[in-house]
Symmetry: none
Subunit: 257 residues, 2 copies
C-alpha cells in the first residue's frame, strides 16, 4: 500500500505509567510495545531496577522511549496533570468501580486525549498489580478478558493489548482504519461479460475433453460458477484460466479458440 500513514497526535497525550516494576526486561518490552503502537511517553513509579541492560535489550530499538522515561516517587506525581486515569485491574475486586473493556476504555481515553487532555494508563506490579489505594486514584478500571483459570498476562503483553486498542481507537477516529479486507489488487476485476466468456469456454473445453458428471451434468458448471464468482476473478486470472483451457482443447484436438 502506498497511502501515507495518518498522524495520530492524540497518542502523544496518552502516557503509560508503570508502578514499582520488578523486572527491567519488562520495562524495555513495554517501551517497545508502546513505540510499536505510536505512544511516546513512559513514566516509571519507583522501579526496582532501572536503567538496566535487560531493559535496553528488550526495548530493541525503542531505547529512545527509555531514555526519555520520567522516574517519579509516587503514583500521584505520575498522574497529577492527567484528566483521565485508567488503571489495569483484575476482574474481581472487593472495591466496585467503573470497569471497562479495553476497547471501550481505549475509545474514551483517545477521545479525551484528542480533545486536548492528558491521559494516563496505569499498570501495576508484576505479581500483585495495583493496590486498592492506587486503584482508587483511577477514574476507571480496565480489564483484559482472559482465561479465568490463567488470567494474569505478562506486563508488557498487557500493555501491548491496551496500546493496540488505543491505536485502533485513534485510527478509527481519524477514519483511517483499513477496511475489513484489503485486497491489494494489481489487476482490474473481470467484468461480468468476461466471466461469461470464461464459463462458456469451460463448457466447451469440458465437452471437448469429454469431462462431465454423469449423474448431474448441469451441477458441474453450477459449481464452477459458484467457485469463480466467489473468488472475484481479475482480468489476468481469467486470461490464465482461458489459456489453460485452450491448451487442453488443443491437446484434445479441439480448436483451442
Amino acid at each position: 500500500m502506498t497511502d501515507s500513514p495518518p498522524e495520530l497526535p492524540s497518542l502523544n497525550r496518552i502516557r503509560v505509567v508503570l508502578v514499582e516494576t520488578s523486572h527491567p526486561g519488562n520495562i524495555g518490552a513495554v517501551a517497545r510495545a508502546m513505540k510499536n503502537m505510536g505512544l511516546t511517553e513512559l513514566v516509571l513509579v519507583a522501579p526496582k531496577v532501572f536503567p538496566h541492560a535487560d531493559a535496553t535489550a528488550r526495548a530493541s530499538g525503542a531505547d529512545d522511549l527509555l531514555a526519555h522515561a520520567r522516574i517519579v516517587d509516587s503514583l500521584d506525581a505520575a498522574i497529577a496533570d492527567c484528566a483521565l486515569v485508567a488503571g489495569a485491574s483484575a476482574r474481581s475486586r472487593t472495591i466496585s468501580w467503573p470497569l471497562m473493556s479495553p476497547r471501550d476504555c481505549a475509545r474514551r481515553m483517545e477521545a479525551e486525549a484528542a480533545a486536548g487532555a492528558k491521559v494516563a494508563l496505569v499498570m501495576g506490579r508484576e505479581k500483585s498489580g495495583l493496590s486498592n489505594a492506587e486503584l482508587e486514584r483511577c477514574h476507571v478500571h480496565v480489564n483484559i478478558p482472559a482465561n479465568p483459570d490463567y488470567p494474569s498476562l505478562n506486563l508488557a503483553a498487557a500493555v501491548q493489548v491496551l496500546t493496540y486498542e488505543l491505536r485502533l481507537a485513534a485510527l478509527e477516529a481519524a477514519s483511517a482504519l483499513p477496511a475489513g479486507e484489503v485486497l491489494e489488487r494489481d489487476q482490474p476485476l473481470a467484468a461480468a461479460a468476461e466471466l461469461e466468456g470464461l464459463f462458456a469456454h469451460f463448457e466447451q473445453a469440458l465437452a471437448t475433453l469429454d469431462f462431465y458428471d454423469p449423474d448431474n451434468p448441469r451441477q458441474l458448471m453450477r459449481r464452477l460458477r459458484r467457485l469463480f464468482n466467489r473468488a472475484g476473478l481479475d482480468r489476468m486470472e481469467v486470461n490464465i484460466l482461458r489459456g489453460i483451457l485452450a491448451a487442453a482443447e488443443k491437446a484434445a484436438g479441439g480448436n483451442g479458440r
Copy 2:
C-alpha cells in the same frame, strides 16, 4: 463480577504455528499469551533451540502448553490438516494477497473453528518473518496496524494481540443470539494438504500441456495459488478441478493421474 466464564471450545481448534523461532524465551512467552487467551495447541516448525530453560521461565505457568507442543520439520507438516491458514505479514509485499485486520481475521478464524474446521495462525521468524513461499501457503494474511516508523512487534506481543482478538471473537460468538456468520457450505473445506495436491497437479498438467508464461514461469503458479487460496475451496471443488486436469493430461497423452 461473578458471572461464570463461558466455555470457548472453538479456541481449542485454533493452533499457533511458530516458524523457526530463534529465541526460546519467545516460545515460552507465546505459550503464556496463548494460555492467557484460552488457546491450547502450539506447533513449532524447526525451532532453533527447544526445549530450553528460557522458554520454561517465560512460560511462567503455561509450561503445560510447552510440554504438549508438537515439533515438526516443515510448515506443510504443521498445517496439513487445516482448512484455514492465516499468516502474520508485514503490510507491503511484492505479492498481493488478501490482507485482513486482526479483528476481521479473528472473526473468520473463529467462525471456521466453531464450524468444526482446524485453523492455524502462522507466525514467522523474529528477524525476517515468513518467506514469500511460506506466505503463499496461507489463505489470508493478517497485519497488526502499527507505527510505520517502527512496525515490528515482538513475536509474543504479536501473538498476544492476535489471540486476544480470537478470544473476543469467541466471546462475541458465544453471546450472540443468532450466529454471527452463517457459513452456507454444503461440503467440507479442503485441507491444506489437499490444496497442495491440487497445486502439484496443476504444475504437472501445465508442464504436460506445455503451458507456461514465457516471461515469468513462477508467476503463473503464484497467481493460481493466490486465486484458489482466496476462494477457499471445498473438497468437491478440488476434486472437480483435479478431474479436469486429469482429463486434460489424458488428452495430451500424459498419465492423467
